[in-house]
Amino acid sequence: MSPISVSILLFVARPSAAEEPQRAALKAPKAEAPDRFSVNAQSETYVQLYRRALVPGQNGQVVPTELAAPIHEYVSANARDVDAPWQKDSIGLEFAAWGRVWPTDSSIERPFDGDVQTASIRLEAGPAWARVGRQQIAGGAARFARFDGVMVGARHLGFFLEGYGGFTVLPRWNDQPGYHHLGAAEDTLLVYQPPAAKRGNYWLTGARLGYQTAKVSGSLSFHNEQATGGVDRRNLGLDLGANPLTEMSLGASAMLELDSMRLASARLFADATPHPLFDLGAEFLHTEPALLLSRQSVLSVFSTDGFDEVGGALTAKIQRWLKLDTNGYIEAYRGTGPGARGDAAVRIILGSAYPTLVRIGYSRVIAPKNGYQAMRLSLSRRLNHRLSSTLEAYGYIYDERVAGYKTSSMYAGTASYQVSDPLEIMWTASVAQSPFAALDAQTMLRATYTFDRAAKPRGY
């Protein structure tokens, strides 16, 4: 984060006389509680180094390899509880973006790339609020979508209403250089250039009406997303939650695809803590995958087959230093035998001030055509108040050979050094042997600079 960026952020986020009351409060502890606001900014720089091959080498071609040393920069900043002329603590700002430089020659990567992930301002006035800019909508009928537009909402007596609309953020990388399309009339490979997306054709709108108390909550949501050609997604969502006991929560959600009037997904779940040592969870999920495809996809009308999953999780905190995590799910598919997945892991923490964490996990996945067993060992150790490290080892055994290989393994490690309060440097490296690489070695250096500034009642 450059000093200029920090200065701009501070200027924008500075609340009206936010700091003056705090200074006064220090002198007179019983003065009126000072104003509060916070500004957080973070810069992360990643420098990677690895050699890669484009696998598997078409028709026996010699596999070309290339050295890669990409440099990524992520920046994010947000300010909260900033005063507005009409109301205290009523402005929030958020910005996040990333950029990449690819300094070495590459057949598939651009020399420069990047995107703005979020750039929004949130305003509150009484029970109403509005957010403008590049933002996201998540959960319910929308699932997850990013858009450039406006979201407004209001709450009153436990009820809340939200509405949004704008232009969908399109993936920048969907153009496919050198793309040949399989098929068409004579089974020849035709060069297929998808038409360039017109931004104006991609827009979305939606709304959510809900009710929320400490014991129950629920919402009904509608999401409509358009693409070139017409409706991309048009869903109705229902989400319910209840906390009948302090130790128990229940939830249900369903999403109705409005074109076919079929349930695209439905989920029931319950979490409980019957004893302080145990956490239990149970879940049922039904999904109809074709309904999650775009309505503009020809393939979306080729299937009505569903897929069901039922299972649960158990966490046992046997001792303060010993925890057991397990979960298991069974999947039912139409036309093939059932599948299953499960994990069991033991976590041990030794020491208190500078703890050592050991985690040993086993996973089993049984899926149509193939499955695998995996073991994972993780070790984390804080060496002193500035230095910490992790080591991990993964081993996989596949039920059926993948590209002729039955196993793969991977070893990874990190070392982090807190140079100062805001600055941390981390070095990481990994070595792997897999069906796709006799030896895969990668390394990365990360520098994280975190800038926090706050003015609020600090333990007055």
Binding site: L182, L299, Y333, G459
Partner: protein
């Protein structure tokens, strides 16, 4: 390479890790509060005055960093300045960050009568945390309205919330990761999740247009439920078959093929290798290798390569009048008319 070799390496690493863990230093010892408060002869002639919490801690000060005793306080009794510095260098762990609490006001309340230990029981009981858990605050403060609205500030500082995992309310356990989308929907989105999280944090996982995966950005988070950790490159085909459509939570089907094409492993490149078995297409529809049933079971996997709008090669056989037959399964229906653009690809 022998199949046993990686397993052997894994067990070797496991043994070494267990050995290292057992030998690990536990760091500086917990400060012996009980000895100072009750284990020292005091208050009689020839002995020092008895200590209380405020003998060392200035609890009235605003800044919690200033509430820890200064070295000079310890050095009134302890001559070993090196040891004093080592003890004071260890800051107490504040799992929930700073809490806004008026100590002066609390100590003056008749229920508390100036006693620190009822809240800070951990200073004399090694089995309890030195700082009170939130349930301790809730024995007096109900905060029902704030609880209902998940309003954590101003008791918690907003930046501390980014590092604080809920323990009781909305417990973020293993199951939570699976249904957090539903929790987001049923409550006020802007109020609940964003009291701790920023949108950028959501996008660290969900924005697949970014170049670095969250697993690459956060390799030190060995306990987080990151989906793509380890050798996901090999596993991803198995995972996609295991839970059809789960990938669509973040990825578009176009994303599958744009990655496959870029790396030369798609059928949609020049000189492709056909990934399908014999009799995948053709006239032998009774073959177990025939594509129909497989496609209906996991149409998303088909879309991973064949999603290309009007250029989809499925149309060649399955359009109206062609020999592939009606691809719409039993029970399928649509509110759209056949004059819609997508429908017209087949219903010319």
């Amino acid at each position: 390479m022998s199949a046993r070799f990686p397993v052997f390496l894994l067990w070797l690493a496991l043994t070494l890790a267990a050995f290292a863990a057992c030998r690990s230093e536990s760091g500086p010892a917990r400060f012996p509060h009980q000895v100072h408060l009750a284990g020292i002869a005091c208050g009689v002639p020839g002995k020092p005055a008895c200590l209380s919490c405020v003998s060392c801690h200035d609890v009235v000060t605003h800044d919690s960093g200033q509430r820890m005793p200064r070295a000079a306080v310890c050095e009134r009794c302890h001559q070993d300045t090196h040891q004093v510095k080592a003890v004071l260098a260890v800051a107490p762990i504040r799992p929930s960050g700073e809490i806004a609490i008026d100590h002066d006001k609390h100590l003056a309340m008749p229920e508390i009568r100036g006693q620190c230990v009822p809240c800070h029981a951990g200073v004399v009981d090694a089995k309890r945390p030195p700082l009170p858990p939130m349930s301790q605050c809730f024995t007096c403060h109900e905060h029902e309205q704030q609880w209902a609205q998940a309003q954590c500030t101003p008791c918690h500082e907003s930046e501390a919330l980014r590092r604080t995992m809920p323990v009781t309310f909305l417990k973020h356990d293993t199951g939570f990761l699976r249904h957090h989308g539903s929790v987001m929907a049923e409550r006020q989105q802007a109020q609940l999740c964003q009291s701790c999280h920023t949108q950028a944090q959501c996008q660290a996982c969900h924005d697949v247009t970014q170049d670095l995966k969250v697993e690459t950005r956060r390799p030190e988070k060995i306990e987080s439920g990151q989906v793509h950790r380890g050798d996901f490159m090999v596993r991803h085909a198995i995972e996609a078959r295991s839970e059809p459509a789960r990938c669509l939570s973040c990825h578009t089907v176009q994303g599958c093929d744009s990655c496959h094409v870029a790396r030369g492993v798609s059928a949609n490149v020049a000189n492709p290798l056909n990934p399908h078995p014999p009799e995948w297409v053709g006239t032998n529809t009774s073959s177990s290798n025939f594509h129909g049933a497989v496609a209906r079971r996991d149409i998303v996997a088909c879309a991973g390569c064949h999603e290309a709008g009007p250029a989809t090669n499925c149309i060649r056989c399955h359009k109206v009048g062609a020999y592939g037959g009606n691809p719409h399964p039993r029970g399928w229906k649509s509110a759209r008319g056949v004059d819609q653009e997508m429908c017209r690809y087949c219903h010319e």
